[in-house]
């Protein structure tokens, strides 16, 4: 049985009230909220978080292929999936691929993965999807977009849902697009986008797909459609014979906004988290064409639902301001502090440091068992030399030993909360505390690890880890 073995999701901690944007520009105010990645996050950090959620409790060495889907990879030449795989500490033999260019990248990746598994060239394929799209300020898309990531582990055994049917159709159209090198998404006039894009392509693809699957709308407990806004989907799902409220509401529109390549997968993750054994889910993915998949929920689902990661990600949040959003995304230029220019990281030093830095491995002394970070060639306790094994801190929790809230440290969101963190199982790391309310940080506050973006100088983006209050 080929299908889904596990799913994961990542929604940033911060949300923005859409009405705040309208207030800022003295323009029209829309309801609901959207997710906003923190200043220290990007497409890749969110992908790492979603994949960690997906792989939690599983043997990650089972992953043979890793397909990462996004329209907002930080590099045009340099593989994002290889970087994310290294941060996840996946085996070096994993075939990594970036799949990009459309919001359909994620369903494309799933279809390619299913082919790999059915063709017996891989047993387990990890799919990550992450996006952080930008639109020009004071426009409708800025309000519609959200940031987020999701992940699936597909395999040929122990599945919690099977993927029974797939259908794909491509289309050439300038409805929503972004030329290489540009920062903001462009789009054609809304009537065209809606009538000749989504409103025409999706119904025709779904009708053909259902015919090919020999299934009817009433066979599905849920039909997952997504678009820039619910105005697009409502008409389409009714036309196709689905109940827009019960079967096909985009439950994330008011809570997260449209998270690009990750949105469909996030909807699927949310549906799976509340699905019952035997449910059938129709999954419709749009972008330069349309992919349609039919999913059946299987027995293992109850255990997978215990994580409740979707609910946790949705519930544990705080609101940021539109002014901060503009600053975090470098949309407005602010007066820089009179501080030294940021030095360029060394590609060589980063290369050497990937096992300890990117994948957050410390060392555990084979003689005295002391764990320490970063990995030490000479043990800090017994001083034995080159006698250690790598020890992962990424999945460990810890407690804040001491902290400060530093207003002097240069940051897009001061103060910077600094902490010494002692880990359950041993070891201490000096870490920033992110996604936190300063007033809630105490000596003893429990924290977990999160993968974050640090400086970017001369095209080199530095990634490492921070701590955050357990979410």
């Amino acid at each position: 049985m080929v299908g889904i073995k596990s799913f994961g999701v990542y929604l940033p901690y911060y949300r923005l009230n859409r009405a705040d944007v309208g207030k800022f520009w003295s323009s029209y105010q829309t309801s609901g909220e959207r997710t906003v990645a923190n200043f220290d996050e990007d497409t890749l950090t969110m992908a790492v978080e979603a994949c960690r959620d997906c792989l939690g409790g599983l043997d990650k060495d089972c992953v043979e292929r890793f397909y990462l889907a996004s329209t907002t990879f930080p590099y045009s030449e340099k593989q994002s999936s290889a970087l994310v795989a290294t941060a996840l500490d996946l085996p070096k033999q994993v075939l990594t691929t970036d799949i990009s260019g459309s919001l359909r990248s994620t369903s494309n990746a799933i279809m390619l993965a299913l082919d790999s598994i059915r063709g017996k060239s891989a047993r387990n394929v990890l799919i990550g999807a992450s996006d952080m799209r930008l639109s020009l300020p004071n426009g409708s898309r800025e309000l519609e977009f959200g940031d987020g990531a999701a992940a699936l582990l597909l395999g040929d055994s122990d599945v919690i849902a099977t993927i029974d049917h797939v259908f794909s159709m491509n289309e050439e159209i300038y409805d929503i697009y972004r030329p290489s090198g540009e920062k903001f998404v462009r789009f054609w006039e809304d009537r065209f986008v809606r009538e000749m894009g989504y409103g025409k392509i999706v119904p025709s693809a779904v009708m053909e797909a259902l015919k090919a699957f020999s299934l009817n709308p009433k066979d599905f407990s849920r039909a997952l459609f997504y678009a820039s806004n619910p105005g697009y989907t409502n008409g389409v799902v009714q036309k196709l014979g689905f109940d827009p409220k019960i079967q096909a509401a985009d439950s994330l529109w008011g809570l997260t906004g449209n998270m690009g390549s990750a949105h469909g997968l996030a909807l699927l993750a949310q549906a799976l988290e509340s699905a019952k054994v035997g449910d059938k889910i129709l999954w419709v993915s749009y972008g330069d064409g349309c992919d349609v998949l039919a999913v059946s929920v299987k027995k293992g689902i109850e255990q997978a639902q215990q994580k409740q990661s979707f609910k946790r990600n949705l519930d544990v949040k705080a609101f940021t301001t539109y002014q901060k959003y503009l600053r975090w995304r470098d949309i407005i230029q602010t007066d820089p502090p009179k501080r030294p220019r940021m030095e360029q990281p060394s590609a060589v030093a980063l290369y050497r440091d990937q096992k300890s830095g990117l994948a957050l491995n410390g060392s555990k002394c084979k003689k005295c068992g002391t764990v320490q970070y970063p990995a030490q060639r000479i043990c800090m306790e017994c001083e034995s030399k080159d006698n250690f094994e790598y020890y992962s801190f990424a999945d460990k929790q810890g407690k804040i030993v001491t902290f400060s809230h530093d207003n002097l440290a240069v940051s897009a969101d001061p103060p910077t909360t600094l902490a010494a963190v002692d880990f359950d199982g041993g070891g201490r790391i000096m870490l920033d505390v992110t996604d936190r309310d300063p007033d809630q940080i105490k000596v003893g506050t429990p924290v977990e690890m999160t993968f974050r973006r640090f400086r970017e100088v001369e095209g080199i983006r530095v990634y490492w880890w921070k701590s955050r209050p357990i979410r």
Binding site: G357, S404, L408, T416, L418, W464
Partner: protein
């Protein structure tokens, strides 16, 4: 190990005004501090057999050459030393060891730092400092870093361990700053010379919680210099030389960053350097035997921890001693008689020798209105790094 006690004498010292010396280059400050030291010792560059220059962030084009060029010190051995904020103390140590070895009879040592040409407010915080608190130098995989942020963590942990509320803890620290500022009003060479109140300290803008602006020392330019000679030659230079009794440096392996046993309420390097110095000088009861100390009050909490690590106060006893006025100019053990880093600012590579300058003048009875009574053994404590991992120098001098 024989130790340094009574082998080397200081026969001349000089120190510039510390502050924003907009009209002086590093070279100008070197000439002024060294000239004062030469005059004090009655010598010139011709008499100097070897020199050590300490400097950390100053952009001196070639490590040792500027000193030869600026002073026209011709064809002598000159060495540049850097050891973070303890740079000048370490330059002093190297020069003193050369003299103690008998190879060199007359040595010049100086520490200089020119920070205010940079255009930055505050210190450079990039890789030089960050390499130690992240995964590896050059990666910038490191927590966001400033000195106040790191020392503030010492305060958080100290308050927590001894059950002080933020207000109680911050008030204790404020009193230390008020003391140093009072002393600084009597120091003509200090950067800041005005009285402050506890209320002003508590209400100052927060720099790194729980430390506010007046818990932090300033950024200054400055230079200090000393002439060292063999003990048996000292009286040829002056009737009142000051002798080195102990000179120790302890460099920590960054246990505060890596080892859960380190609780961030004290600085082990200070304790270890102090212990070693007391042993070298033959001191059994530091609080009784030390007459006065110049210590590294880069932040208020640093001075509080120093009292305990140098065994001036019992563990957790800082508050009691501060409330009793123990460390005031007229107290049992005056600390930072000249106002400390708080009033002089902290030109990184110069501070350690500015401290020695003060105890040298005090021992000679030349400290003017801030002169302490019975100034005999004077201690200087100079810290480079953060409470989690640092270089600490402790020097003891006396008549």
């Amino acid at each position: 190990m024989e130790g340094i006690k009574d082998k080397v004498a200081i026969v001349g010292m000089g120190c510039t005004k510390f502050g924003e010396n907009w009209n002086m280059s590093a070279g100008d400050m070197i000439i002024d501090a060294v000239s004062e030291a030469y005059e004090d010792a009655g010598i010139s560059s011709k008499d100097v057999q070897a020199a050590w220059i300490g400097s950390f962030w100053t952009n001196l084009p070639a490590p040792s050459m500027p000193l030869a060029t600026i002073l026209k010190m011709k064809y002598k051995p000159i060495t540049r030393i850097e050891n973070m904020c303890a740079t000048a103390s370490d330059a002093f140590r190297n020069a003193a060891y050369a003299v103690a070895s008998g190879v060199i009879d007359v040595a010049l040592v100086l520490g200089v730092e020119k920070l205010k040409d940079s255009g930055n407010s505050g210190l450079p915080t990039d890789d030089l400092a960050m390499g130690n608190v992240g995964t590896a130098p050059g990666t910038f995989r490191a927590r966001n870093f400033t000195a106040p942020g790191h020392f503030a963590m010492l305060a958080t942990s100290y308050f927590n361990k001894y059950g002080l509320s933020a207000e109680e803890g911050r008030t204790m620290l404020a009193k230390i700053m008020v003391k140093n500022h009072h002393n600084g009003t009597m120091s003509p060479k200090a950067h800041f010379r005005k009285e402050i109140t506890v209320e002003q300290v508590l209400k100052a803008p927060v720099i790194a919680w729980p430390l506010g602006l007046l818990d932090c020392c300033g950024v200054s330019d400055g230079c200090a210099a000393a002439v060292l000679v063999r003990k048996d030659m000292a009286k040829n230079f002056r009737p009142d030389p000051v002798y080195i009794k102990a000179m120790q440096i302890a460099v920590g392996p960054c246990e505060g960053y890596m080892n859960p046993k380190h609780d961030w309420t004290s600085v082990k390097e200070t304790y270890r350097a102090g212990q070693a110095a007391y042993e070298e000088a033959g001191i059994k009861n530091p609080r009784k035997e030390i007459s006065m100390a110049e210590v590294h009050d880069c932040f208020s909490i640093t001075e509080a921890a120093i009292y305990e690590d140098l065994q001036f106060s019992a563990r957790g006893g800082c508050k009691e001693d501060v409330d009793a006025g123990t460390f005031e100019l007229t107290g049992e053990l005056p600390v930072n008689m000249d106002g400390g880093l708080k009033c002089f600012g902290h030109p990184i590579g110069a501070t350690g020798l500015r401290m020695v300058y003060e105890v040298y003048k005090q021992i000679q009875g030349k400290a003017g209105p801030r002169q302490v009574k019975n100034a005999e053994l004077g201690l200087t404590h100079n810290l480079g790094g953060t409470p989690g991992g640092c270089t600490v120098s402790v020097i003891i001098v006396g008549p």
